[in-house]
């Protein structure tokens, strides 16, 4: 059970996001040589290329979402659109004509996705954290075997479970309900939570448990009152990653959902690709809206996301 690095979620968070303006060590000024100039040039050129490649495609998606159709379909293509309008965003979210079934589908998909991803995160993180606590604190028969079993489920290809789950959901009368997707997503979020939270809880000193127990807490009370409050960074990382996983899922949703009652954002976007041509401007606007929650999460909570990713993989 030895793990390679002592990377705890908290420690990675502090080390990877060290500000660029960290106090530099006093260094003697080196003479400006051709070699150093070339090196700087090389590095900045690399950075420029990286930024263009990273931002270019996304910038085009943004431009497409607000550009007039005439500009989008022009040949030769005009990169800066002559007419800009946010009408597509209004149509897809608050406005739109009553006959616009595509916009209606998109709106209900937005609510469904928010509901499903939030509930999945809540269920997965609660159930998974309690299990992770047991794996972290107790030694019991079958422990190693069970951890391995949890991890193995994350490797299973969804396609192998797709058919039976589809049939089971039909039999239970759950097909085309948000609940069906919540149940399915909870099952693939939980092992990740167990994995990440066990790693995190291993870094929380056991003395805290003991102290809480001495003060009269039950085991669950110790977890709830003492351990969870000090594990907030780990819980945040884990919850965000769980939310992103659920927000992103497509294959199960494609099979289990049929109507606006349960269709999620990825399925609704897939439906934009109609049989008779695609309105790419609208598709781009829908894509931008769908990307807003994960992109905000990624930027605002970057250190937690990076910490979660690193802890998850280094320990994995």
């Amino acid at each position: 059970m030895s793990t390679p690095a002592s990377t705890s979620v908290g420690r990675v968070a502090s080390s990877t996001t060290a500000p660029a303006t960290a106090p530099r060590q006093p260094r003697r000024r080196q003479p400006i040589t051709l070699r150093r100039v070339l090196r700087a040039l090389f590095i900045y050129a690399g950075m420029a290329i990286a930024l263009i490649v990273i931002l270019g495609p996304f910038a085009w998606l943004l431009i497409s979402s607000v550009a007039d159709k005439v500009d989008l379909l022009a040949r030769p293509l005009s990169w800066i659109p002559a007419h800009i309008s946010f009408q597509r965003f209004i149509d897809l979210t608050i406005g739109g004509s009553p006959g616009d079934s595509q916009a209606q589908e998109f709106r209900s998909a937005l609510t469904n996705s928010l509901l499903i991803a939030s509930v999945t995160t809540f269920v997965g993180v609660s159930v998974g954290t309690v299990a992770a606590y047991a794996f972290s604190r107790f030694r019991f028969p079958g422990r190693g075997w069970m951890i391995l079993a949890f991890m193995a489920t994350t490797m299973l290809p969804p396609i192998a479970l797709l058919l039976p789950l589809y049939q089971i959901m039909n039999t239970l009368g759950l097909s085309d309900t948000p609940l069906a997707l919540i149940i399915i997503y909870a099952s693939f979020v939980t092992p990740y939570v167990v994995w990440l939270m066990r790693g995190y809880l291993d870094t929380v000193p056991r003395e805290l448990d003991d102290a809480a127990r001495v003060d009269g807490c039950s085991r669950l009370g110790a977890l709830w009152r003492v351990i969870l409050p000090v594990s907030r960074p780990g819980l945040l990382s884990t919850s965000l990653l769980a939310f992103l996983l659920a927000w992103d899922e497509f294959l199960y949703a494609l099979v289990v959902t049929q109507t606006n009652a349960s269709k999620t954002i990825p399925v609704a976007l897939n439906d934009f690709i109609g049989r008779y041509g695609v309105d790419f401007g609208r598709l781009a606007a829908g894509g931008v809206i769908a990307a807003i929650p994960p992109v905000i999460i990624a930027f605002v909570f970057q250190r937690y996301i990076v910490a979660g990713l690193t802890a998850g993989s280094v320990k994995g």
Partner: protein, 308 residues
Amino acid sequence: MAVGTLRRAPLKRSKPWPETWVAAAFVAPAALVIFLVVVVPLARAAWMSLFDIELTRPGVEPFVGLGNYLTQLTSAGFWDSVFKALFFTVVTTVLELSLGVGLAMLMDQPMRLRWVLRSLVILPWALPTIVNALMWRWIDNATYGSLNALLTQVGALHDYVPWLSQDTTAMWMVIIADVWKMTPFCAILILAGLQGIDRELFEAARVDGAGTVAIFRRIILPLLTPIILIVLVLRTMEAFKVFDIIWIMTGGGPASSTQTVAIYAYRTAYQGYDFGQGAALGYLIAIAIMLLAAVYLWLLRRTGTTTS
């Protein structure tokens, strides 16, 4: 114990549960979820895969034993899709890892505005897979796509190319889209590994007269091997079961030129309405991935990058 035994001193706590019981109670909810949503369906899929179930012919489901597996293992379409998936896996993993190492090295250089790159790098990864696929589908569009526009405007191309609907380029376009999204993920992990390396090693090597290339080959790369191996494992296992990005961009086409094994299984089950074959295919993919996992586990143990 009889009811109302209050003989014991009230100060003494009731006897705590044995640890194993507490642990069982704590693990039970998670285990139940996994059991109901993973183990039960898996068992059902195993059962289904032994029958000839075609939705176009309800009520008639003869037992065929391992027939479905044999049909697939001897079918050209299946092996073609396996090779497509392997090609996708090998090319994307190699590109994402090598570009990821480069990007991580770049982000590790002391330079002005480094934080810009470091914070923006997460954007492609954060974009939902479906949005990424749609975005590239639009960029690669045959008549209005910006890739065609860009390449003709700089003079690299005379006529617009239907990137996604000709079999020579479709797979490469999907690969580009996947590499664009997942390289930052690799870079972020590798950067974390890079930051764990003791800087004094570089200084020492430099004093000993080692050049940049030598430092990279002799110090950085060997020390990064564990994290690179882990990223390799994560990426190959994901890539082999790729579905979403291909389904949105090409649907497996043109013809079957981007039909990886997961797409093939989905088409067999939901477009061919053949659930028996579909279940068998699901199992074959799962077995392949578990074998891959076993090989990797052995490899990681051997190189000392142990996992639990």
